[in-house]
């Protein structure tokens, strides 16, 4: 569990535009625009407070080999690492690489699934950022038959 002080300290450390939601003052969150604007995987991980990511067998990404519809690609990220504070889901060739970021507390398993849009066939990455700022990733290639970003 993050205290407000830790959360705020953390937010301040992350460079970029900070905008508190005001909804949960005790868990002040800041949408990290810099990270979501990042064009590459490395940039996004850096903006999220991780070092250069290292490939690891302890991180898993699940997804289809071929996605017929790029508008709805089911992707899952999970890790067996402990002391993980964040999981990131990234698609390398999307206009902005970062899809989603999950903040992990000791009360949830580091295992998330969601659906994402993919503009074209690309490598997708799961990145786990540990409490000491190390980043580990796993990648998988997903082929997209019909892109889901433009229209």
């Amino acid at each position: 569990m993050q205290t407000r002080r830790e959360t705020l300290k953390h937010s301040a450390a992350v460079a970029g535009l900070l905008a508190s939601t005001g909804l949960f003052p005790q868990y002040a969150q800041a949408f990290d625009k810099a990270a979501f604007d990042a064009k590459s995987v490395a940039e996004a991980v850096k903006a999220m407070g991780g070092a250069a990511p290292v490939e690891s067998k302890d991180v898993t990404i699940t997804g289809p080999d071929i996605a017929e519809n790029g508008a709805v690609v089911p992707l899952g990220v999970s890790t067996s690492l402990t002391n993980v504070k964040r999981m990131l889901l990234l698609v390398e060739k999307n206009p902005s690489a970062l899809i989603a970021m999950f903040n992990i507390t000791p009360d949830v398993e580091a295992n998330f699934a969601t659906r994402s849009k993919m503009g074209q066939s690309s490598d997708v990455y799961a990145v786990a950022i540990t409490n000491d700022g190390k980043a580990f990733f796993a990648k998988k290639e997903v082929k997209v038959t019909l892109g889901g970003c433009g229209g």
Binding site: Y27, A71, P95, M101, N103, V108, F112, A113
Partner: protein
């Protein structure tokens, strides 16, 4: 106010799997309308999950999460009867909270 979420929370052993379907347009900011103008991005930014009122998970999403987003995660130590709450907030300031009971 947006449409309600559909939340399913099922306990198995000492943990519970939570599946959420939210109702949101999730406009990517990449598409163009009939006149060639870019439709501005409109997407869920913050997602917060609580167990009996205590925050267990927060997430930040970009516009690349699919329309009507699906989210699945697992809460440790949740048992039948516990209350799971999900709140999202989009980049236009709209928000929605829903609650479900673990079964």
């Amino acid at each position: 106010m947006a449409d309600p979420m559909r939340i399913r929370a099922q306990a198995a052993g000492d943990k519970a799997t939570i599946r959420v379907l939210m109702s949101h347009e999730m406009e990517s900011g990449q598409r163009k309308d009939g006149n060639g103008k870019i439709i501005p991005a409109w997407h869920i930014q913050d997602v917060t999950a609580t167990l009996n009122g205590k925050v267990v998970m927060t997430a930040e999403w970009g516009p690349a999460v699919s329309k009507n987003p699906f989210l699945q995660f697992t809460i440790k130590g949740a048992k039948a009867g516990d209350k799971v709450g999900i709140t999202w907030k989009d980049n236009k300031g709209d928000s929605r909270s829903d609650e479900a009971t673990v079964s």
